[in-house]
């Protein structure tokens, strides 16, 4: 059955027949190595990132492409002017736009994100990805949710304090701004050609907050976010924090139809909860792929597919793959996922 990756993803989402389960292998910084340049230089041009993404996908043979450079880009759209680059790992926000509570009032949401200088290169990246792979490979965008965005603007430490201890009006004012930004950002990325929106929200996991807080604070913002953007192509992702305890609730109240698990969520449980209603994405513990042997990687994929493949509606994925993972292990992951994820009598049958 000859299918494109985009058709394969759609088939998994709706439980139509397909050759195999889709594979999302999230490589970012690895693109710089492909192009033989330092990370700072790599991330300075959308053309580099597009080229890196296309080459990596071609090389390893998985199913998705990313328009994400690094998450700190979102902070840049909101005024962050210093990013800490490393040689061996992802860039991090160094300048916090919100230094004290007074800064919340002056936080400026760009009127038109697509005209913001910090959007120029991601837009160029998206244009190139669309040109070379549009309609064939799903192009993913990473968008931080309303409730998690403040962590990028003021750091997790201060955001946790404000969120849990107030002052409540400052907290709510900030969340309102972040929501406004969130909606515009999703629109901008969709207009530029993103097919999949990874809705990134560690605060949507009960690893981060209690169930009570989730229900009273996190869930209402998730509902607001999703009412504004719709659930099309949206993936529920909590930064690889666990989601099985909330999956049912989010599915029922918000209607998102794709769930990106934690490596510590039971895949079998998730499939049972999601039933035939949603696409479950099993996630390998990729931090361990740095030291695992190829055989260990393959055994882990086998364990995941044994739990996830029965009944279909399964996707095999990774977290943010560390740069230190040996290429042989990336190959072992993709090869095993293609094999064991096969629906028509591959090694799995």
């Amino acid at each position: 059955m000859a299918m494109t990756a985009l058709q394969r993803l759609a088939a998994a989402a709706t439980r139509r027949p397909a050759d195999r389960a889709p594979i999302f292998c999230n490589l970012f910084d690895q693109g710089a190595r492909e192009l033989g340049m330092p990370l700072r230089e790599y991330y300075s041009r959308g053309a580099h990132v597009a080229e890196g993404q296309l080459r990596l996908r071609e090389k390893f043979g998985y199913d998705n492409l990313w328009s994400l450079f690094y998450v700190g880009k979102e902070a840049e759209l909101l005024g962050c002017n210093r990013i800490c680059f490393a040689d061996d790992g992802p860039p991090n926000v160094e300048h916090f736009v919100i230094d004290d509570l007074d800064d919340i009032a002056s936080l400026e949401v760009p009127a038109d994100i697509t005209r913001h200088p910090a959007f120029e290169q991601p837009a160029e990246c998206l244009r190139l990805l669309r040109q070379h792979a549009g309609g064939t490979y799903p192009i993913c965008a990473y968008i931080t949710s309303t409730m998690s965005l403040p962590a990028l603007l003021m750091g997790m430490e201060r955001w946790m304090s404000l969120l849990l201890m107030g002052p409540v009006d400052a907290r709510d004012a900030l969340l309102a701004r972040c929501h406004e930004f969130f909606v515009k950002e999703v629109e901008a990325y969709r207009a530029a050609g993103a097919d999949v929106i990874l809705y990134a929200n560690p605060f949507g996991s009960t690893d981060t907050v209690s169930m009570k807080f989730f229900l009273s604070h996190a869930l209402p913002w998730i509902e607001r976010d999703l009412r504004a953007i719709g659930t099309d192509g949206v993936v529920y992702y909590c930064g690889t924090s666990r989601i099985n305890r909330v999956l049912d609730i989010v599915l029922d109240t918000v209607g998102i139809r794709t769930y990106y698990l934690s490596p510590f969520d039971s895949i079998a449980d998730a499939k049972e909860i999601a039933g035939g209603r949603a696409l479950t994405c099993g996630v390998i513990n990729d931090a361990r792929m740095i030291d695992w042997t190829e055989d260990e990687v393959v055994a882990e994929v086998r364990r995941m597919t044994d739990a996830g493949m029965p009944g279909g509606r399964f996707l095999i994925g990774t977290g943010v793959m560390p740069l230190a993972i040996p290429e042989a292990n990336i190959r072992a992951f993709v090869t095993a996922a293609r094999d064991f994820g096969s629906h028509d009598g591959g090694a799995h049958a």
Partner: protein, 223 residues
């Protein structure tokens, strides 16, 4: 006498309700508890109970760890001022995030939990180079260096824990100073602390407080 307060206090902490936890403390004081009682017979046993619950598979979330640390820190700070005699410090630790790592929340939680256990913490901030960890530990006569890292490359790179270990070796300080690490990569790989040559790690902030207190009691005091 304080047992009933311990339960009420922990309920408030689990509920991440700071105001209620502080009210429980006030009620205990009104009931005749001394500031020393509040710290050693309420706050510390409450943390012990939480560790026990966690080890028995109770899932404490990040907000609860944050709140435990926050309240323990606040209460201890205010009670210390009212202690009749200055408490005996268990030891001293310097703490920071690894070079290139800006994630400061873990450090804050761990330090908050340590305060109630009478461990003195020197906060070195974020993005700390190996030689600064070691220089400060020596200058402060600290027995433990705590390094928080949220990403694989800052946990495993040469400028993280491995760099600190190398300097301790070079300067002949290993008999005096222990290294403890923590953060997401260590939770994703419980053997990683050995790979980076740390002496110990802890999965969460409350447990970290206990493990560090344990390390401190093992070590000879600085001359």
């Amino acid at each position: 006498m304080l047992d009933s307060y311990i339960a009420a206090y922990n309920d408030a902490v689990f509920d991440t309700d700071r105001d209620e936890a502080l009210r429980v403390v006030q009620r205990a004081l009104d009931d005749g508890a001394s500031p020393e009682d509040i710290v050693f017979r309420l706050v510390v046993p409450a943390m012990d109970q939480m560790i026990k619950a966690i080890s028995e598979d109770f899932d404490a979330n990040l907000a609860q760890h944050f709140m435990t640390a926050q309240i323990a820190n606040e209460v201890t700070e205010s009670m210390l001022r009212r202690f009749t005699a200055p408490p005996q410090a268990l030891g001293r630790i310097v703490m920071g995030t690894a070079r290139g790592d800006m994630h400061s929340l873990g450090k804050r939680i761990v330090m908050g939990c340590l305060k109630a256990q009478m461990v003195e913490c020197v906060d070195l901030g974020v993005n700390v180079a190996p030689d600064r960890f070691v220089d400060e530990a020596v200058a402060q006569r600290a027995s433990v260096i705590g390094i928080s890292a949220m990403m694989s490359h800052t946990a495993r790179g040469p400028d993280g824990c491995l760099g600190v270990r190398r300097l301790l070796q070079e300067r002949g300080l290993e008999h005096r100073i222990r290294i403890i690490v923590g953060g997401a990569p260590y939770r994703f790989d419980p053997d990683l602390y050995r790979v980076v040559q740390a002496d110990a790690w802890a999965e969460d902030g409350i447990t970290a407080g206990k493990v560090i207190a344990g390390l401190l009691t093992e070590l000879p005091p600085w001359p």
